[in-house]
Amino acid sequence: MSDALVLDDVRKSFGKLEVLRGVDLVVGEHEVVCLIGASGSGKSTLLRCVNLIEPIDSGRIVVEGEEITARGVDVDRIRRRIGIVYQAFNLFPHMSVLRNVTLAPAEVLKLSRGDAESRALELLQRFGLADKAREYPDRLSGGQQQRVAIVRALAMKPDLMLLDEVTSALDPELVAEVLEVIRELATTGMTMLIATHEMAFARDIADRICFLDDGVVLEQGPPEELLTNPREPRTRQFLQRVIDAGRLAV
């Protein structure tokens, strides 16, 4: 099995603050990897670096065998293959749902309007959003907006999906519908790197969980093992806080 994504000693600082201090991580083809860790541990920054929204300071990021952090790489071409969904949805408010989803396929992949729309409608249908195609984002609930954001990323047929705490901005009763969509994606074999605070969800969906602490992957392993029997004291501390907050049943 070839590796979908390899991070090799990736470092990133914002001014004096070193956020990523040498991250090593491998995500296999069709693998679902969840990143957990406290706020500020570098989860979001790591995802933004993989999508080349943030340039890294040193190290290498390799997607499907191609080093995307090499000099002179066409970033737009790389981003086409990597879908990212943000915590705050970031839908385009001046466009209908359908236009949000068709914009990049039409403008970047050069699909005809008809092809782009049928691809979009098919995806919206699959995720229960067909009747929202003509609506504008501000008419949708948070959960619906986030599902549209996922569909928008999927419409580019990415090799790899990055999900950055996609349920953190949602009201509790809207979380389930979004997690359901991600579960379905996992069953179709989509390779995913997911930063999340939803431990129960991570245990359920992930092939592997990585605990990010202070800018490095401190510990990783199968969900049951990492969540119930962590080796590192820092991991234990973090999980204890999560359990105390009622976010993970033991």
């Binding site: 999508n51 981003r79 086409r80 990597i82 943000y86 970031n90 403008e107 580019m156």
Partner: protein
């Protein structure tokens, strides 16, 4: 609000308005110089005589500002976009855009018109018109593009950076992100202040008269010179106001609509 209250507040508004303007009118009409002023500024006969020629000349103002507005919409956008280009490679472009806006917002419009209107034709450039009218319009475009560029820039900067991140992460190029995602949102937000600048431009179209073209203001000067009566100035003022009011109300309406929308949006 109950109907009785409503009727009462309308009555109060009417009464206070009548009183306010009544006092001013009485003060003006009973002033010692009023008979002469009425003769010099409010002559019905002079108004009837001069108004048609001024209206004719006013079409030149309309032409001047319509052409200028069309050009300004484009050049100002280009300047604003150039100024917002990121990265060290575009530093000289940004400096140029900043220098331009600083320069043309700093010089009084009337000076730009004089300098270009008298200076540029003297260059005898090939293929460029030498008429004062042409250079008058160019001056207005240069000055107002600087203002409108700043309006556009405020709009561009008001669009949250996460919108550009979302567009870029879908693989859209910087240019396409700007064109499809940033600018449509930016322009929508700045329509009211932009129209406000255009109201200023409409009035300033009269300044072009100072280098020769006979527009409404110049025509009224001619009428005044022939009759020693100032009524034509008031006739001209009336025309400008009549043109400005619809645009001002339209701008107000747009602002009110945007406010309603954003309130509805935050309630949802």
């Amino acid at each position: 609000m109950r109907t009785g209250d409503r009727g009462r507040s309308i009555a109060v508004a009417v009464a206070s308005t009548v009183l306010f303007f009544g006092v001013i009118a009485v003060a003006v009409v009973t002033s010692p110089g009023w008979p002469e002023v009425r003769q010099a500024f409010f002559s019905g006969e002079q108004f009837r005589e001069s108004f048609p020629t001024i209206v004719d000349a006013f079409w030149l103002n309309v032409k001047i500002f319509l052409i200028a507005e069309g050009v300004i919409l484009v050049t100002a956008l280009v300047i604003a976009v150039l100024r917002s280009l990121p990265g060290p490679a575009f530093f000289p472009v940004r400096v140029l855009a900043i220098a331009y806006t600083d320069l043309f917002r700093g010089i009084p419009t009337i000076l730009v018109i004089y300098i270009l209107g008298f200076g540029a034709p003297a260059l005898q450039l090939h293929g460029v018109p030498n008429s004062p009218l042409f250079w008058g319009v160019v001056s207005l475009v240069l000055v107002y593009s600087a203002y409108v560029a700043e309006v556009y820039r405020a709009g561009i900067e008001s669009v949250h950076p996460s919108q550009e991140a979302a567009a870029r992460s879908l693989g859209l190029s910087r240019f396409k992100s700007l064109r499809f995602v940033i600018l449509p949102q930016a322009v929508r937000r700045v329509v009211p202040p932009l129209l406000n600048d255009f109201i200023g431009l409409q009035k300033d179209s009269a300044l072009v008269a100072l280098i020769g073209p006979v527009e409404a203001f110049r025509q009224s000067q001619i009428e005044v010179a022939g009759s020693f009566n100032y009524t034509p100035y008031l006739a001209t003022a009336l025309l400008f106001v009549l043109l400005t009011i619809p645009l001002a109300r339209f701008t107000d309406w747009l602002i009110a609509r945007d406010r309603r929308r954003s309130l509805a949006g935050s309630a949802a």
